[in-house]
Structure formats: C-alpha cells, structure tokens
Symmetry: C2
Subunit: 415 residues, 2 copies
C-alpha cells in the first residue's frame, strides 16, 4: 500500500467520525485551531522564511514571492478566517425536502458530508487554513498537496492543526498533507479513486488543466476567467466607465477581473476615448480592433489570441460590435464561462443577455468583480467553479457537501 493510499485510508476513517460530529464540536475545534495557529507564530514564520529564502535563491521574483510570504498579519487573517468559518451555519444535516409517497414511504433528501476531499494548490500557504477550515466545517476530511515552494510552511501549519485536533479529542487525520511535492505524488493523488470523493485544484490554468486531464477522481474545475463587459447602446456611460475601470483595475490578477471590453458601435466614438483615458491613467494597456485603435490613442492592435487571453494583468482587449447579437456571439466564442456583464438601460437586452449568455455568473449593470463567495454572502469560498457539474460559481460550505436519500418505511415491498 502506497503512502497516498495509506493517507486515504486514514482520511476515510477520520471522515467517518467527523461526519457525525455535532456543529458545536466542529466550531470549538476551528476556534482552537485558530488559537494554535497564532501560538505557533514563531515556528510557522521561521519555516516560511526558509521557504522564501529558498525561492529567492532559485531566482523566483515579485508577485510569486509576495504570495508565498507569511507575516504576522497574514497569520492573523488565517486565524480570523477559521473563526469566521466557525460562525457560519453548518450545512450538514439539513433535509432539503421530505414527502410521503402514495405507498406510505416517507422520503427526504439530506445534506451530508462529501467524505474525503483532495486539494492540490500552488504557492499560497493561506490555502492550507482556508481549506482545512471549510472542509472540517462541511464534515469532510481533507488531503492537501501544496506547491514545492511552500513545502516547509505547509508542513508546519498542518502539524499545528493536527495537534490542535488531537487536543480537542478529534482524529488528527481530519487533515493531512502529502509529505512530498513530486510529480508522482500529484499523479497518484489524481487517481486515488475509492479514497478521494472529489479533487479540487486551486491555482493557475496549467495546474487546473493538468488535473482535469489526468484525474480519474471527480474534479471540480475552478477559476480561469476570460470575463467580458459589453457596453450597450443605451448604457449610462458614466456608470459604465466606472464599472469597466473597477472590473479591470481594482485587482487585475484575479479570475473575476474584466479581460475584454465590447462596445456598441453607436456609442463607441463617445465612450471609448473617455474609458480609454481613465484606463490609461491606471496604466492599463489597451489592445483593440481597428475601431478601438482609432478612438483610443496609444492603444495597440489586438491579435486573434488576445480575444482568448486571460491576462490577469493591466491589459485589456477591446472591440467594437454592431449590436447585442454580435456581442453575445463573441462572448459565446471566447468566454471561459466565469463572469460576463452587460451594461444597458434597455430592458429586453438585459433579459436577453441574462438568458442567452452561459456562464457561472451573468451581470446587468455591475462589475464582474463581485463573483466571490464572500461578496455573494457565503462567508467564505473554496474556489470558483467554472464547470457545470455539482457546483457553478463561488463554492461555499454547501458546495462541499453532497446529499443522500433517507427513506422511512413500514414494511413496503415493490410490486
């Protein structure tokens, strides 16, 4: 039996106990884990310092190092996150519907834990605390496999959580971390059917595609967002400029940021110079079609590839379209099914866009940046699903559970 299969076996055993644990016990454990995290500050930050130093030695730079680095403040945010999850409603045990059939069978659909959840992620060590907290509250054991750059930090953080669980009389195996960061261990994790009930990749497009292509365990695909905003003929142009600016620049590195702007030809001449200037003031590079390049000085011609690109950066592709139909058909061609918005005062066009655009979140007159578990009121999220099975859009506690039918009979047999 391989190391991963043994971990899977232990996780299943821990999950059986966790599945029937009352909410208050889970909440106590979460709060205790938050305390333990803060108490272990020295050990965790020192492990993290080693990780960061090793990454720097390898020539890794900038934003990556920032994501990798833990500070006292970030550790406090992680602990706060655990306490916030403790404060959320427990989805487990809810019966979604219960009815009596003609033969007297009483049948209900009950929300129950998933069992064992696997999470493969990259350099952000805060994912360990997020994932641990959400999975525990949702009643599932979790096996984490982080990126090699955060290896020492992740090991340390998980060791703290495991000890905290034991101190609360719970199985430490509710959370485990894969003890190496080889490609083999990732591949084995992706084929751990019978032990893992679901696998969630969190990271860049490369990681996600690798998991989708190689996993035989059911996967929830998260994250890639080539999000569009279509500014219709009747849009309130002042609001529209503010929304486009917000969606592109408020945090350009995330998946719900706007990557592509479509503008109705009737207002292109009026709107493009205004929005172009505002964007350029924030140092956004605009890659436009011919019409856009005519209206926004300093913009550069877009290639075919630009329409399909999630820049996650201060770059925006932009195109002038004839009408709503052309906008919808452009979006249908290039959308990754994450978040799409129309800005319009036309009722029929708003409804058509909501109906005809197929994405996890479809907006009228608002920034795409709202596609987020916290913003949607879920309290916390494990990621944003861009697939259609099981969960679509931000995934909170509920999306980390499954259901089972419970049936009360009094001797019924099938005729």
């Amino acid at each position: 039996m391989s190391i991963l299969m043994e971990m899977g076996k232990k996780a299943k055993m821990a999950a059986v106990k966790l599945a029937v644990l009352p909410s208050p016990k889970k909440n106590e454990a979460l709060c205790h884990a938050a305390e333990a995290l803060l108490a272990a500050e020295g050990a965790i930050l020192s492990a993290n310092k080693e990780d960061v130093a090793a990454a720097v030695t390898l020539g890794i730079k900038g934003a990556f190092i920032d994501r990798l680095t833990l500070t006292k403040e970030r550790l406090e945010e992680m602990a706060d996150g655990l306490r916030q999850v403790a404060a959320l409603n427990d989805p487990v045990g809810e019966v979604l519907s219960m009815k009596t059939l003609e033969n007297g069978l009483v049948i209900g659909q009950k929300r129950v834990p998933m069992g064992v959840i696997g999470i493969i992620f990259e350099a952000r060590p805060n994912v360990t605390a997020d994932a641990f907290g959400l999975c525990l509250k949702a009643g599932s054991a979790v096996i984490l496999r982080g990126g090699k750059e955060a290896f020492r930090t992740n090991q340390r953080v998980i060791a703290v959580f495991r000890q905290a669980l034991e101190e609360m009389g719970l199985p430490a195996d509710i959370v485990q971390v894969v003890p190496d960061t080889s490609r083999e261990s990732a591949n084995e994790m992706m084929r751990l059917n019978g032990y893992l009930d679901v696998l969630i990749p969190r990271g860049g497009a490369g990681l996600i595609q690798s998991v989708v292509q190689n996993s035989t365990v059911p996967v929830i695909e998260t994250g890639v967002g080539n999000c569009h905003i279509f500014v219709d003929e009747t849009a309130d142009l002042e609001k529209a400029a503010a929304i486009v600016l917000n969606a592109k620049t408020q945090r350009p590195g995330v998946c719900n940021a706007c990557e592509s702007l479509l503008v109705h030809e009737a207002i292109a001449e009026q709107f493009l110079p205004v929005v172009g200037e505002a964007l350029q003031q924030k140092e956004v590079e605009i890659r436009g079609d011919e019409a856009v390049c005519r209206q926004i000085s300093g913009s550069v011609p877009a290639t075919q590839e630009d329409w399909a690109t999630e820049y996650a950066d201060y770059i925006l592709s932009a195109r002038v379209v004839k009408n709503l139909d052309e906008a919808i058909s452009h979006i249908r061609k290039y959308s990754t099914g994450h978040s799409e918005a129309i800005l319009t005062e036309n009722y029929t066009n708003a409804q058509r866009f909501l109906n005809e655009v197929d994405a996890a979140a479809v907006y009228v007159n608002a920034s795409t940046r709202f596609t987020d578990g916290g913003q949607f009121g879920f309290g916390a999220e494990i990621g944003i699903s861009t697939q259609k099975l099981h969960a679509r859009g931000p995934m909170g506690l509920k999306e980390l559970t499954t259901t089972k039918y419970i049936i009360y009979g009094n001797g019924q047999i099938r005729k």
Copy 2:
C-alpha cells in the same frame, strides 16, 4: 477536425437554440417524436431484426438478446415514455433563490440547461428514446454512442427523431448518434472537453469503470449496487422475510436488488431457516458464513469475494453479525454506496443506521428495490448516480440541468 469534434460543434450550436426554447415547444417536439417512432415501426423493427440476427450468429444468448430485441410493445413503451416526459414539469428557468445584498445587488441562482450531454450505453436500444426525451426536455443536446450489437437499431431510431425535430422546425442536431462503434470513437468521446459538458455511462461495471478511468470530460458514475439488508434483533420478522424476498427476487438483475443479507445473532436461529426456505423456493442460492450455513440447509460457504460481489442474479450472500456496529462496519467495507436497508423496530438503531451509513439511498423497513426515479416520483430517470458530485441516487430531469447566478445591478462597483 475529427468526426466527433464536428458532432460536438453541431451539438453546441443546436444546444444554444434549444436552451431558450419554451416548454410547450419542447413538449410538442416530444409528442411528435413519439408519433414518428410508431409510424416508423416497420423500418425500426426490421433494423432491429438484423441486429438480433447478427448477434445470434455471433453466438450471443439469453438475457442479452432479450435486452437487444425490440417489439411492437416495446416501441409503444418507448413512445409512451416520450409522452410521459412531455407531461413532466420543466426544470429549466426555475430561480432557486433570489436575494438582495446590502449593496443593492439582486442575486439569484437560476436552473439552466447543461449544454451538451454525452451518453455511452450498451445493448438496450430503448436507452436512445429515454435519453433523447430527458435531455431534450432538460434543454440539452445529446450525443449518443450505443453498443455495436444495437448499431442498426440505434441509427434508425435516431434518424426518426432527427427528422421529427426538423419537421417541428428544430435543429436535428439536438440528437446525434456516433456513426461507428469502435473503441477509438468511445475513447475520443471521453476526451471531448470543450464540447461535452458531462458524460453518463449506462451499462455494466466494465463500461462504467472504463469511462471513469479514461474520461477527462466530467462523468456521472452510475449503477453498481452491492446492496445490503440488515435484519436487526427487534425486526418484525414476518415483514423482514417479505422484504428480503422482494429485494432479492422481484427483479434480481437490477442494481437496487439486495445482494447481501446481514442478520443479528439474537434472531439468527429463528429468522434464517424461514427466510432461507422462502428464498430457496424462488431458487435463490445462498452463500453464507458458518452460522448461516448451520441454519440454512443447502446453503454454501461464502468466500471473501462473495461479500464484495454484485451478483445481479438469483444468488445472495448472508452473514450473522453480533450487533448494529458490526453490521455498519461490514456495510462500510463492502457497500458500493447504492442502497442499504435496516429492518428494525428500535428507534435509536434506525436513526443510527440512517446517519452512519453512507449511500445514495438508506432505508428503514422497506425494500431496496424502491431506489428508482419512477418510484421516487421523478417521472423518469436517466440512471442512478453512485458518486457524490452533482447528483446522488436516481437522476431525473433536474439532475440533467445546472445553474447559473444572475445578478441585477444599478452601477455597483467593488470597493
């Protein structure tokens, strides 16, 4: 572009039109397809006759030939099935919840079609009509790939449906059938990401495992059922015998039939001879542990393998257990997560079984044979999911849909 990718592309285009089609139009199309099916009786039965003759020539026998064979009556059942689906409520368009956030955004979760559904199935040609009807009503295009033995029949039936769709002014590509039955086409279908939103295998354990192992498209795993009945110390033994007999023999070839009987030791001596005799009268072979073999003459010793086997036949494994804990732990070890039942008059044991046994359907005092979309009141089912993602248990129209968030704003930007 391969044939399958071209089919995928056509299916996506048809799905876009189908997604916004009003319910009455879909229902008319279903009823017209039912008419067309009956009108084509001659052509379909003659194609089926060729399939059956070819199978017989290959030495195929018995139950397989029965499943493959269409008759006038079975064709009428297929047509009736389509009309019944027309009569079901349309799940598409329902908004599951709608609320106003503090910032004024109005956010709802709307049920929408899946897009394009792939179905890989074996010898039953009636699956073509079932799958076509359910997918159409749920607003999704479908690509079907049937077993080679039913090739001529499936081609004929789908041709009839495609023509019926065109006659109703709808795209024929709402339903397509893969034009060959090679292993290559199956494998390509399993990797048709970007075209297929979900793949559902319908058939035996071999087919299902092959799809789970090889598919990169999200899969809903259906069907394998190693279902247990635990007869507790306090069970009403008369009802218990009737339930065990029903669950094993009413239709032993299906996935919700009972495969394994667990009996509390306190009533083993009283219960086993009675149920044993009743089962043996129905020619059920009993494979028992030592205690069972002592109580039921004519039973044979069970091997380790028996506990894990879905016989789908007149065979039952049986074991005496010390108590509820031993029963639950046996089920935890060997269950395929389909349907599990406890027969008991003890309130606490009933609740514990419902809580602690992890399966798609968990019963108290009823036959496992009720796990079925029709029996659960869904009207029809596309299969029974034994995985935890997306759908668990019988899948009706609702389980063939997904959701999207729709958000109404008035200029909101994220702070």
